[in-house]
Symmetry: none
Subunit: 206 residues, 4 copies
């Protein structure tokens, strides 16, 4: 139908806006990005953004939801083949690295975002938590990692990741903190979790 052509056109514009917003959010920060910035980056007029999103809040919530969906999906995908916690955490790192700039902004500004947007961020974490907790429980049962409340296990991991992302400008001023520190963080965390003074790890790998 003719509609398809228009529909496509509109969808493309929406895409352009969302992509521009995603990119601007990553580059400038979420709350520091103005509707004008997005419009300009998307190459559309100021009013067009409002033709696609009712208001500022709806716009950023949508971007975060979109991103959240993508990230959650990616996490699920990566988690599918993972039986061990270690693999899972590695997958988690991978999925973060794919969107590091944006994800970092999310971590940094989460508390300042409109509630709807913040809730979405929480849901992303819940999805991750589900997979990780499951695997962690298994390995605790198997005695591979120290017994501890699952929540603490998960929170410690998230805390480490978020800390390094938040302070990325110190650890890796050129960006890409996870590329540089991700592996190290994973080893460190696994070491702590196993409580093996780092020996076991080596032994196991041997």
């Amino acid at each position: 139908m003719k509609n398809n052509q228009r529909q496509l056109q509109k969808e493309q514009t929406r895409r352009k806006i969302l992509d521009a917003a995603f990119s601007e959010f990553g580059a400038r920060g979420i709350m520091a990005t103005r509707m004008q910035d997005i419009a300009k980056a998307a190459g559309v007029s100021h009013g067009t953004v409002f033709a696609h999103f009712a208001n500022y809040e709806a716009m950023i919530t949508t971007v975060i939801e979109e991103f959240g969906g993508k990230m959650t999906l990616r996490t699920h995908e990566l988690a599918c083949d993972c039986r061990e916690v270690r693999e899972l955490l590695a997958a988690h790192l991978t999925s973060i690295m794919e969107f590091e700039d944006f994800y970092t902004r999310l971590v940094v500004e989460a508390r300042l975002l409109p509630t709807a947007a913040r809730d979405t961020f929480i849901m992303i974490q819940s999805a991750v938590s589900f997979h990780i907790n499951q695997a962690a429980q298994r390995e605790m049962d198997a005695g591979n990692i120290r017994a501890m409340p699952l929540a603490l296990f998960f929170n410690t991991w998230m805390a480490l990741i978020h800390y390094y992302l938040s302070n990325g400008y110190l650890f890796a001023p050129e960006g890409c903190v996870m590329k540089r520190y991700g592996g190290m963080l994973l080893e460190h965390f696994m070491g702590l979790a196993r409580g093996d003074c780092g020996e076991k790890e080596t032994a196991e790998n041997a």
Copy 2:
């Protein structure tokens, strides 16, 4: 002399403004506090704030520097009597609890603050790090805690604390996250650090 009188007056006003700002920052958030809010809370006129601080940025930087100094000093004080890491971390928690609202805002908004303010935040952490690292090194040498890079030891601790502060609205919606979770976090972290599967801790306490 009259000059002295005036000087004193001025200093008092400055004090009122700084205290008001500190309090408002804790209550409303740093970036969410307007110059007007500070002036009103200080009981001075809007313009007076600008008589003491060149601009918004200078104002918040000064407050954070002041706070940083106070917090660092407190950390030193508390650290003085501490020989063991565990005591030191407990002291760190104590000093945070004394300023929890403001410190949390700092953690949450750090990345969005003017560079000068951010740098101050970094210095606070350096002061803490100095003491903790020293003690940690001692205990690692003594074999009380697992060997690991000092930076990782410190960062893991900070990450945990900041994670709980940042997400305080989830963990303790009524506020005072550290009062509620501080002790638990300390045990958890020490457990990880000792790598003792939680056994040693119990033994020690007995």
Copy 3:
């Protein structure tokens, strides 16, 4: 021919738009109705309205002209069988009641409308005035109503009607002011016009 088919189609669309506009104007108010509202109510696209009317002003002027024609026609129809002023005024009330919502909006917003639209409103009143004045003159000559300038007779009647319509939200918050007060206003006005201290009226009705 195909041309005829198209012409017909076009005319039908135009009809839908005009009817929708009439209805929306009555419901929301004239100036408060946006082009979008009309398009949606008509079940056509936003742009279609502009294919039929050069701009907003042309659109509302046309609606009012159309309505004016209809109302004038109706007034003539109803006036045909009326010999007495009283009957005529009753007919006037009837014709107003048929379009009360829209007519009220017209009364309320007349002064704010584009000149062309306003002129149409004046013409409606002229048509009514023609009939009423004629009958009023007859009855004044016959001594049934007090002698007074015809214009004053007419204006007083219109003033009363418009006042009650304009303030309908006070007199009859549920709407339909004329259904509720029309009869009363007619009696009141006739009483004033006859100058009979209300006696005659009662006698007549008996």
Copy 4:
């Protein structure tokens, strides 16, 4: 005190804004006047208007309240010495003539104003109604005017006045409808009210 000087300054600015608004409202219409227009007319910056009035609605409500107070006061003053309805209505006309432009805008736009502003307009009318009804009752009792519900008496008078004001552009395109038609309307209305076919009036005046 020094405060007085500033207070005065501020009050003057507020006055300038209110006067400018009053004048612009009269000239352009109330809803057609933008904050910018008022600022420009008052010779102050855009932001200054918002320093004095929280928002658009507060601004126009204040102007109408101010005006309403003035008008009500004037009505009371003029009503004080009036024993007869006729004098009272004349006084009412006088008070309207003093603010004809603005009052006409109020009449014309009343239904479209924010509720608070509209309520104020209603209160103005209530004040007038109080005096008029009182006098009318007396004269009805005395048999000087026809017996009729007070509300109808009052509404008929208001209707006439508002009708002529609303349609002033037809009756007196150069403005000042009431100066030109006020006296005539008063005679006409009194004639209707007395129900004396105009004879009594002449006799009485003789």
